[in-house]
Symmetry: C2
Subunit: 229 residues, 2 copies
Protein backbone atom coordinates (compact mmCIF):
# COMPACT_ATOMS: atom_id res chain seq x y z
CA UNK A 1 0.00 0.00 0.00
CA UNK A 2 2.76 2.38 1.02
CA UNK A 3 4.49 1.59 -2.29
CA UNK A 4 1.33 2.38 -4.30
CA UNK A 5 1.01 5.65 -2.36
CA UNK A 6 4.55 6.67 -3.28
CA UNK A 7 3.89 5.76 -6.89
CA UNK A 8 0.72 7.88 -6.91
CA UNK A 9 2.62 10.86 -5.52
CA UNK A 10 5.42 10.40 -8.06
CA UNK A 11 3.00 10.07 -10.95
CA UNK A 12 1.33 13.38 -9.98
CA UNK A 13 4.76 15.01 -10.16
CA UNK A 14 5.44 13.38 -13.53
CA UNK A 15 2.14 14.60 -14.96
CA UNK A 16 2.92 18.10 -13.80
CA UNK A 17 6.31 18.08 -15.52
CA UNK A 18 4.63 16.67 -18.62
CA UNK A 19 2.14 19.57 -18.59
CA UNK A 20 4.98 22.08 -18.15
CA UNK A 21 6.84 20.58 -21.13
CA UNK A 22 3.71 20.78 -23.26
CA UNK A 23 3.01 24.45 -22.52
CA UNK A 24 6.69 25.24 -23.15
CA UNK A 25 6.40 23.68 -26.61
CA UNK A 26 3.08 25.50 -27.14
CA UNK A 27 4.71 28.84 -26.35
CA UNK A 28 7.55 28.16 -28.82
CA UNK A 29 5.05 27.25 -31.53
CA UNK A 30 2.80 30.23 -30.76
CA UNK A 31 5.73 32.65 -30.95
CA UNK A 32 6.89 31.27 -34.26
CA UNK A 33 3.27 31.28 -35.54
CA UNK A 34 2.98 34.98 -34.77
CA UNK A 35 6.44 35.97 -36.01
CA UNK A 36 6.60 33.74 -39.08
CA UNK A 37 2.92 34.22 -39.99
CA UNK A 38 2.36 30.47 -39.85
CA UNK A 39 -1.35 29.65 -39.69
CA UNK A 40 -0.76 25.90 -39.55
CA UNK A 41 1.38 26.26 -36.45
CA UNK A 42 -1.17 28.60 -34.86
CA UNK A 43 -3.87 25.97 -35.37
CA UNK A 44 -1.59 23.32 -33.88
CA UNK A 45 -1.33 25.29 -30.62
CA UNK A 46 -5.04 26.10 -30.51
CA UNK A 47 -6.11 22.51 -31.21
CA UNK A 48 -3.68 21.08 -28.65
CA UNK A 49 -4.74 23.30 -25.75
CA UNK A 50 -7.63 21.11 -24.59
CA UNK A 51 -5.15 18.25 -24.05
CA UNK A 52 -3.39 20.33 -21.41
CA UNK A 53 -6.80 21.10 -19.86
CA UNK A 54 -7.54 17.37 -19.74
CA UNK A 55 -4.16 16.61 -18.18
CA UNK A 56 -4.95 19.12 -15.46
CA UNK A 57 -8.34 17.53 -14.80
CA UNK A 58 -6.78 14.08 -14.51
CA UNK A 59 -4.04 15.41 -12.24
CA UNK A 60 -6.61 17.13 -10.00
CA UNK A 61 -8.77 14.03 -9.82
CA UNK A 62 -5.80 11.93 -8.78
CA UNK A 63 -4.61 14.53 -6.27
CA UNK A 64 -8.03 14.78 -4.62
CA UNK A 65 -8.46 10.99 -4.60
CA UNK A 66 -5.07 10.74 -2.92
CA UNK A 67 -6.08 13.32 -0.29
CA UNK A 68 -9.23 11.33 0.43
CA UNK A 69 -7.64 7.86 0.50
CA UNK A 70 -4.21 8.46 1.95
CA UNK A 71 -4.77 11.55 4.08
CA UNK A 72 -1.19 12.76 3.73
CA UNK A 73 0.47 15.12 6.20
CA UNK A 74 3.63 17.30 6.24
CA UNK A 75 5.74 17.15 3.05
CA UNK A 76 3.40 14.75 1.31
CA UNK A 77 0.41 17.01 1.97
CA UNK A 78 2.40 19.96 0.63
CA UNK A 79 3.27 17.91 -2.46
CA UNK A 80 -0.40 17.39 -3.22
CA UNK A 81 -1.49 20.95 -2.40
CA UNK A 82 1.29 22.48 -4.52
CA UNK A 83 0.50 20.08 -7.37
CA UNK A 84 -3.07 21.43 -7.34
CA UNK A 85 -1.82 25.03 -7.36
CA UNK A 86 0.88 24.45 -9.94
CA UNK A 87 -1.37 22.59 -12.34
CA UNK A 88 -3.72 25.60 -12.33
CA UNK A 89 -0.83 27.95 -13.19
CA UNK A 90 0.44 25.64 -15.93
CA UNK A 91 -2.98 25.21 -17.52
CA UNK A 92 -3.39 28.98 -17.53
CA UNK A 93 0.03 29.31 -19.18
CA UNK A 94 -1.19 27.03 -21.95
CA UNK A 95 -4.22 29.30 -22.40
CA UNK A 96 -1.89 32.27 -22.79
CA UNK A 97 0.19 30.53 -25.47
CA UNK A 98 -3.13 29.78 -27.14
CA UNK A 99 -4.08 33.47 -27.02
CA UNK A 100 -0.89 34.37 -28.88
CA UNK A 101 -1.62 31.69 -31.48
CA UNK A 102 -5.15 33.10 -31.88
CA UNK A 103 -3.69 36.55 -32.49
CA UNK A 104 -1.50 35.10 -35.25
CA UNK A 105 -4.52 33.39 -36.79
CA UNK A 106 -6.78 36.44 -36.52
CA UNK A 107 -4.26 38.58 -38.42
CA UNK A 108 -3.24 35.92 -40.96
CA UNK A 109 -1.87 36.43 -43.65
CA UNK A 110 -0.69 39.75 -42.19
CA UNK A 111 1.96 39.63 -39.46
CA UNK A 112 0.54 40.93 -36.15
CA UNK A 113 3.98 42.22 -35.12
CA UNK A 114 5.64 45.11 -37.02
CA UNK A 115 9.20 44.50 -38.26
CA UNK A 116 10.87 46.86 -35.80
CA UNK A 117 9.35 44.97 -32.82
CA UNK A 118 10.09 41.44 -34.01
CA UNK A 119 13.33 41.29 -32.06
CA UNK A 120 11.73 42.21 -28.75
CA UNK A 121 8.80 39.82 -29.25
CA UNK A 122 11.22 37.03 -30.20
CA UNK A 123 13.15 37.75 -26.98
CA UNK A 124 9.92 37.62 -24.97
CA UNK A 125 9.01 34.28 -26.51
CA UNK A 126 12.46 32.85 -25.85
CA UNK A 127 12.49 34.09 -22.25
CA UNK A 128 9.00 32.69 -21.65
CA UNK A 129 10.13 29.26 -22.83
CA UNK A 130 13.36 29.47 -20.88
CA UNK A 131 11.54 30.30 -17.62
CA UNK A 132 9.09 27.44 -18.13
CA UNK A 133 11.99 25.07 -18.87
CA UNK A 134 13.60 26.15 -15.60
CA UNK A 135 10.28 25.47 -13.90
CA UNK A 136 10.27 21.89 -15.20
CA UNK A 137 13.81 21.46 -13.86
CA UNK A 138 13.11 22.80 -10.37
CA UNK A 139 9.90 20.80 -10.07
CA UNK A 140 12.03 17.72 -10.76
CA UNK A 141 15.15 18.66 -8.77
CA UNK A 142 13.33 20.41 -5.88
CA UNK A 143 16.48 22.53 -5.52
CA UNK A 144 15.49 25.51 -3.36
CA UNK A 145 18.26 27.79 -4.59
CA UNK A 146 17.35 27.23 -8.23
CA UNK A 147 13.68 27.62 -7.36
CA UNK A 148 14.44 30.97 -5.72
CA UNK A 149 16.46 32.03 -8.77
CA UNK A 150 13.46 31.20 -10.97
CA UNK A 151 11.05 32.94 -8.60
CA UNK A 152 13.11 36.12 -8.76
CA UNK A 153 13.50 36.09 -12.56
CA UNK A 154 10.35 38.05 -13.38
CA UNK A 155 12.33 41.30 -13.75
CA UNK A 156 13.70 40.22 -17.13
CA UNK A 157 10.27 39.93 -18.72
CA UNK A 158 9.18 43.20 -17.10
CA UNK A 159 12.14 44.88 -18.77
CA UNK A 160 11.23 43.54 -22.24
CA UNK A 161 7.64 44.55 -21.57
CA UNK A 162 8.76 48.09 -20.77
CA UNK A 163 10.90 48.29 -23.94
CA UNK A 164 7.92 47.24 -26.04
CA UNK A 165 5.55 49.68 -24.32
CA UNK A 166 7.99 52.54 -24.73
CA UNK A 167 7.91 51.91 -28.48
CA UNK A 168 4.12 51.55 -28.48
CA UNK A 169 3.64 54.83 -26.67
CA UNK A 170 5.92 56.81 -29.00
CA UNK A 171 4.11 59.74 -30.56
CA UNK A 172 5.50 58.71 -33.93
CA UNK A 173 4.19 55.11 -33.75
CA UNK A 174 3.59 54.48 -37.47
CA UNK A 175 1.74 51.12 -37.53
CA UNK A 176 -1.83 52.11 -36.68
CA UNK A 177 -3.80 51.65 -33.47
CA UNK A 178 -5.03 48.22 -34.47
CA UNK A 179 -1.47 46.93 -34.46
CA UNK A 180 -0.68 48.79 -31.23
CA UNK A 181 -3.56 46.98 -29.52
CA UNK A 182 -2.41 43.59 -30.85
CA UNK A 183 1.14 44.15 -29.68
CA UNK A 184 0.02 45.38 -26.24
CA UNK A 185 -2.16 42.31 -25.74
CA UNK A 186 0.57 39.94 -26.94
CA UNK A 187 3.01 41.60 -24.52
CA UNK A 188 0.50 41.12 -21.72
CA UNK A 189 0.17 37.40 -22.55
CA UNK A 190 3.95 36.91 -22.46
CA UNK A 191 4.16 38.82 -19.19
CA UNK A 192 1.46 36.73 -17.52
CA UNK A 193 3.00 33.49 -18.85
CA UNK A 194 6.31 34.50 -17.28
CA UNK A 195 4.50 35.35 -14.02
CA UNK A 196 3.07 31.85 -13.92
CA UNK A 197 6.47 30.28 -14.65
CA UNK A 198 8.15 32.23 -11.85
CA UNK A 199 5.26 31.46 -9.49
CA UNK A 200 6.17 27.78 -9.92
CA UNK A 201 9.53 28.63 -8.33
CA UNK A 202 7.72 29.91 -5.22
CA UNK A 203 5.58 26.79 -5.15
CA UNK A 204 8.65 24.55 -5.13
CA UNK A 205 10.12 26.62 -2.27
CA UNK A 206 6.89 26.16 -0.33
CA UNK A 207 6.86 22.45 -1.14
CA UNK A 208 10.37 21.92 0.23
CA UNK A 209 10.45 24.37 3.14
CA UNK A 210 6.80 24.93 4.04
CA UNK A 211 7.65 28.65 3.84
CA UNK A 212 5.36 31.29 2.42
CA UNK A 213 5.04 31.44 -1.34
CA UNK A 214 4.66 35.12 -2.18
CA UNK A 215 7.42 37.41 -3.49
CA UNK A 216 10.38 37.87 -1.12
CA UNK A 217 9.90 41.64 -1.18
CA UNK A 218 6.73 41.20 0.83
CA UNK A 219 7.74 38.15 2.77
CA UNK A 220 10.19 38.29 5.64
CA UNK A 221 8.78 34.88 6.65
CA UNK A 222 9.99 33.28 3.43
CA UNK A 223 13.44 34.81 3.69
CA UNK A 224 13.71 33.72 7.32
CA UNK A 225 12.61 30.21 6.48
CA UNK A 226 15.01 29.99 3.55
CA UNK A 227 17.92 30.79 5.83
CA UNK A 228 17.09 27.63 7.74
CA UNK A 229 16.23 25.53 4.69
Amino acid sequence: MREAYREDLASIGDSLVDMVRQVTTAMGQATSAVLEVNEWQANLVIDHDHKVDLLRQELEDRAIALLARQQPVATELRTVVTALRMSAAVERSGDLACRIAKLARMRYPVCAIPDDLRGTVADMGQLAQQLMNQAAEVITSKNVEEALRLAQSDGQMDQLHRILFDQLREVTWPHGCDTAVDVALAARYYERYADHATSLGYQVIYLVTGGRTERPGTSPTLRAELRHA
Copy 2:
Protein backbone atom coordinates in the same frame (compact mmCIF):
# COMPACT_ATOMS: atom_id res chain seq x y z
CA MET B 1 -13.58 18.38 18.58
CA ARG B 2 -16.22 17.76 15.93
CA GLU B 3 -17.74 21.15 16.80
CA ALA B 4 -14.36 22.90 16.39
CA TYR B 5 -13.94 21.17 13.04
CA ARG B 6 -17.29 22.45 11.81
CA GLU B 7 -16.43 25.93 13.02
CA ASP B 8 -13.10 25.81 11.16
CA LEU B 9 -14.86 24.79 7.96
CA ALA B 10 -17.47 27.51 8.37
CA SER B 11 -14.89 30.16 9.10
CA ILE B 12 -13.03 29.28 5.88
CA GLY B 13 -16.28 29.85 3.99
CA ASP B 14 -16.84 33.16 5.80
CA SER B 15 -13.34 34.38 4.94
CA LEU B 16 -13.91 33.52 1.32
CA VAL B 17 -17.15 35.52 1.19
CA ASP B 18 -15.36 38.38 2.95
CA MET B 19 -12.65 38.32 0.25
CA VAL B 20 -15.28 38.27 -2.50
CA ARG B 21 -17.04 41.30 -0.93
CA GLN B 22 -13.74 43.17 -0.74
CA VAL B 23 -12.80 42.62 -4.38
CA THR B 24 -16.34 43.61 -5.41
CA THR B 25 -15.90 46.91 -3.59
CA ALA B 26 -12.42 47.29 -5.10
CA MET B 27 -13.82 46.85 -8.61
CA GLY B 28 -16.50 49.50 -7.98
CA GLN B 29 -13.90 51.93 -6.70
CA ALA B 30 -11.47 51.17 -9.54
CA THR B 31 -14.15 51.77 -12.15
CA SER B 32 -15.17 55.06 -10.63
CA ALA B 33 -11.47 56.03 -10.28
CA VAL B 34 -10.94 55.47 -13.99
CA LEU B 35 -14.21 57.06 -15.16
CA GLU B 36 -14.32 59.98 -12.73
CA VAL B 37 -10.53 60.61 -12.85
CA ASN B 38 -10.30 60.19 -9.09
CA GLU B 39 -6.70 59.65 -8.00
CA TRP B 40 -7.61 59.35 -4.32
CA GLN B 41 -9.93 56.44 -5.08
CA ALA B 42 -7.32 54.80 -7.32
CA ASN B 43 -4.83 54.92 -4.46
CA LEU B 44 -7.41 53.45 -2.10
CA VAL B 45 -7.78 50.36 -4.32
CA ILE B 46 -4.04 49.99 -4.83
CA ASP B 47 -3.22 50.37 -1.13
CA HIS B 48 -5.95 47.94 -0.09
CA ASP B 49 -4.94 45.11 -2.42
CA HIS B 50 -2.34 43.57 -0.09
CA LYS B 51 -5.06 43.06 2.51
CA VAL B 52 -6.86 40.71 0.13
CA ASP B 53 -3.55 38.93 -0.49
CA LEU B 54 -3.12 38.51 3.28
CA LEU B 55 -6.66 37.19 3.66
CA ARG B 56 -5.87 34.58 1.02
CA GLN B 57 -2.69 33.53 2.83
CA GLU B 58 -4.55 33.16 6.11
CA LEU B 59 -7.32 31.21 4.42
CA GLU B 60 -4.82 28.88 2.75
CA ASP B 61 -2.94 28.32 5.99
CA ARG B 62 -6.16 27.40 7.76
CA ALA B 63 -7.31 25.16 4.91
CA ILE B 64 -4.02 23.27 4.81
CA ALA B 65 -3.91 22.95 8.61
CA LEU B 66 -7.43 21.55 8.48
CA LEU B 67 -6.42 19.01 5.81
CA ALA B 68 -3.51 17.90 7.98
CA ARG B 69 -5.38 17.75 11.30
CA GLN B 70 -8.86 16.64 10.33
CA GLN B 71 -8.22 14.65 7.15
CA PRO B 72 -11.64 15.38 5.70
CA VAL B 73 -13.28 13.23 3.02
CA ALA B 74 -16.25 13.60 0.63
CA THR B 75 -18.10 16.95 0.83
CA GLU B 76 -15.83 18.32 3.52
CA LEU B 77 -12.73 17.55 1.47
CA ARG B 78 -14.35 19.25 -1.52
CA THR B 79 -15.16 22.27 0.66
CA VAL B 80 -11.49 22.68 1.52
CA VAL B 81 -10.17 22.00 -2.00
CA THR B 82 -12.65 24.44 -3.58
CA ALA B 83 -11.83 27.05 -0.92
CA LEU B 84 -8.18 26.81 -1.99
CA ARG B 85 -9.12 27.16 -5.66
CA MET B 86 -11.66 29.92 -5.11
CA SER B 87 -9.38 32.01 -2.91
CA ALA B 88 -6.80 31.99 -5.73
CA ALA B 89 -9.41 33.24 -8.23
CA VAL B 90 -10.65 35.92 -5.84
CA GLU B 91 -7.17 37.18 -5.03
CA ARG B 92 -6.44 37.41 -8.74
CA SER B 93 -9.69 39.36 -9.23
CA GLY B 94 -8.44 41.86 -6.66
CA ASP B 95 -5.21 42.21 -8.66
CA LEU B 96 -7.25 42.98 -11.77
CA ALA B 97 -9.26 45.70 -10.00
CA CYS B 98 -5.90 47.04 -8.88
CA ARG B 99 -4.66 47.08 -12.49
CA ILE B 100 -7.61 49.25 -13.50
CA ALA B 101 -6.90 51.61 -10.60
CA LYS B 102 -3.24 51.80 -11.69
CA LEU B 103 -4.36 52.74 -15.19
CA ALA B 104 -6.45 55.59 -13.73
CA ARG B 105 -3.47 56.75 -11.68
CA MET B 106 -1.00 56.49 -14.55
CA ARG B 107 -3.16 58.72 -16.75
CA TYR B 108 -4.22 61.15 -14.00
CA PRO B 109 -5.32 63.97 -14.44
CA VAL B 110 -6.32 62.85 -17.93
CA CYS B 111 -9.19 60.34 -18.21
CA ALA B 112 -7.92 57.00 -19.62
CA ILE B 113 -11.31 56.36 -21.25
CA PRO B 114 -12.58 58.58 -24.12
CA ASP B 115 -16.04 60.08 -23.69
CA ASP B 116 -17.72 57.91 -26.34
CA LEU B 117 -16.60 54.71 -24.56
CA ARG B 118 -17.52 55.73 -21.02
CA GLY B 119 -20.91 54.06 -21.25
CA THR B 120 -19.51 50.69 -22.29
CA VAL B 121 -16.76 50.78 -19.65
CA ALA B 122 -19.32 51.75 -16.99
CA ASP B 123 -21.42 48.75 -18.08
CA MET B 124 -18.38 46.46 -17.85
CA GLY B 125 -17.63 47.72 -14.34
CA GLN B 126 -21.21 47.25 -13.23
CA LEU B 127 -21.44 43.76 -14.72
CA ALA B 128 -18.13 42.77 -13.12
CA GLN B 129 -19.44 43.83 -9.70
CA GLN B 130 -22.78 42.18 -10.28
CA LEU B 131 -21.17 38.83 -11.20
CA MET B 132 -18.93 38.96 -8.14
CA ASN B 133 -21.95 39.77 -5.96
CA GLN B 134 -23.72 36.73 -7.39
CA ALA B 135 -20.60 34.71 -6.58
CA ALA B 136 -20.79 35.77 -2.92
CA GLU B 137 -24.44 34.72 -2.86
CA VAL B 138 -23.92 31.27 -4.39
CA ILE B 139 -20.91 30.57 -2.17
CA THR B 140 -23.23 31.24 0.77
CA SER B 141 -26.39 29.57 -0.54
CA LYS B 142 -24.67 26.66 -2.36
CA ASN B 143 -27.63 26.71 -4.71
CA VAL B 144 -26.58 24.67 -7.76
CA GLU B 145 -29.06 26.27 -10.16
CA GLU B 146 -27.93 29.77 -9.27
CA ALA B 147 -24.31 28.63 -9.44
CA LEU B 148 -24.92 27.28 -12.94
CA ARG B 149 -26.58 30.55 -13.94
CA LEU B 150 -23.51 32.44 -12.73
CA ALA B 151 -21.17 29.99 -14.43
CA GLN B 152 -22.92 30.53 -17.74
CA SER B 153 -23.01 34.34 -17.48
CA ASP B 154 -19.67 35.02 -19.13
CA GLY B 155 -21.34 35.76 -22.48
CA GLN B 156 -22.54 39.18 -21.27
CA MET B 157 -19.02 40.44 -20.60
CA ASP B 158 -17.79 38.95 -23.89
CA GLN B 159 -20.47 40.97 -25.68
CA LEU B 160 -19.41 44.25 -24.02
CA HIS B 161 -15.80 43.36 -24.80
CA ARG B 162 -16.69 42.88 -28.47
CA ILE B 163 -18.55 46.22 -28.60
CA LEU B 164 -15.50 48.00 -27.18
CA PHE B 165 -13.09 46.24 -29.54
CA ASP B 166 -15.24 47.04 -32.56
CA GLN B 167 -14.91 50.72 -31.66
CA LEU B 168 -11.18 50.38 -31.00
CA ARG B 169 -10.56 48.74 -34.35
CA GLU B 170 -12.47 51.36 -36.34
CA VAL B 171 -10.29 52.93 -39.00
CA THR B 172 -11.50 56.34 -37.86
CA TRP B 173 -10.53 55.84 -34.18
CA PRO B 174 -9.72 59.45 -33.25
CA HIS B 175 -8.17 59.15 -29.78
CA GLY B 176 -4.59 58.08 -30.52
CA CYS B 177 -2.92 54.70 -30.13
CA ASP B 178 -1.90 55.36 -26.56
CA THR B 179 -5.55 55.56 -25.55
CA ALA B 180 -6.44 52.54 -27.69
CA VAL B 181 -3.87 50.48 -25.80
CA ASP B 182 -5.18 51.67 -22.41
CA VAL B 183 -8.76 50.84 -23.34
CA ALA B 184 -7.80 47.41 -24.71
CA LEU B 185 -5.93 46.52 -21.52
CA ALA B 186 -8.74 47.80 -19.30
CA ALA B 187 -11.22 45.70 -21.29
CA ARG B 188 -8.98 42.69 -20.84
CA TYR B 189 -8.90 43.23 -17.04
CA TYR B 190 -12.70 43.43 -16.86
CA GLU B 191 -13.01 40.32 -19.00
CA ARG B 192 -10.63 38.31 -16.82
CA TYR B 193 -12.33 39.55 -13.65
CA ALA B 194 -15.66 38.32 -15.00
CA ASP B 195 -14.05 34.99 -15.93
CA HIS B 196 -12.91 34.55 -12.35
CA ALA B 197 -16.36 35.46 -11.01
CA THR B 198 -18.09 32.93 -13.28
CA SER B 199 -15.46 30.29 -12.45
CA LEU B 200 -16.65 30.56 -8.83
CA GLY B 201 -20.03 29.32 -10.05
CA TYR B 202 -18.37 26.16 -11.40
CA GLN B 203 -16.51 25.70 -8.14
CA VAL B 204 -19.75 25.79 -6.16
CA ILE B 205 -21.25 23.21 -8.53
CA TYR B 206 -18.23 20.99 -7.96
CA LEU B 207 -18.45 21.54 -4.22
CA VAL B 208 -22.08 20.45 -4.06
CA THR B 209 -22.18 17.71 -6.71
CA GLY B 210 -18.58 16.54 -7.04
CA GLY B 211 -19.09 17.08 -10.78
CA ARG B 212 -16.47 18.46 -13.10
CA THR B 213 -15.84 22.17 -12.95
CA GLU B 214 -15.07 23.21 -16.51
CA ARG B 215 -17.46 24.90 -18.94
CA PRO B 216 -20.52 22.83 -19.87
CA GLY B 217 -19.61 23.05 -23.55
CA THR B 218 -16.69 20.75 -22.90
CA SER B 219 -18.17 18.71 -20.12
CA PRO B 220 -20.82 16.07 -20.67
CA THR B 221 -19.82 14.77 -17.23
CA LEU B 222 -20.93 17.96 -15.54
CA ARG B 223 -24.24 18.08 -17.39
CA ALA B 224 -24.89 14.43 -16.56
CA GLU B 225 -24.04 14.98 -12.92
CA LEU B 226 -26.21 18.09 -12.70
CA ARG B 227 -29.22 16.11 -13.86
CA HIS B 228 -28.80 13.95 -10.78
CA ALA B 229 -27.90 16.80 -8.43
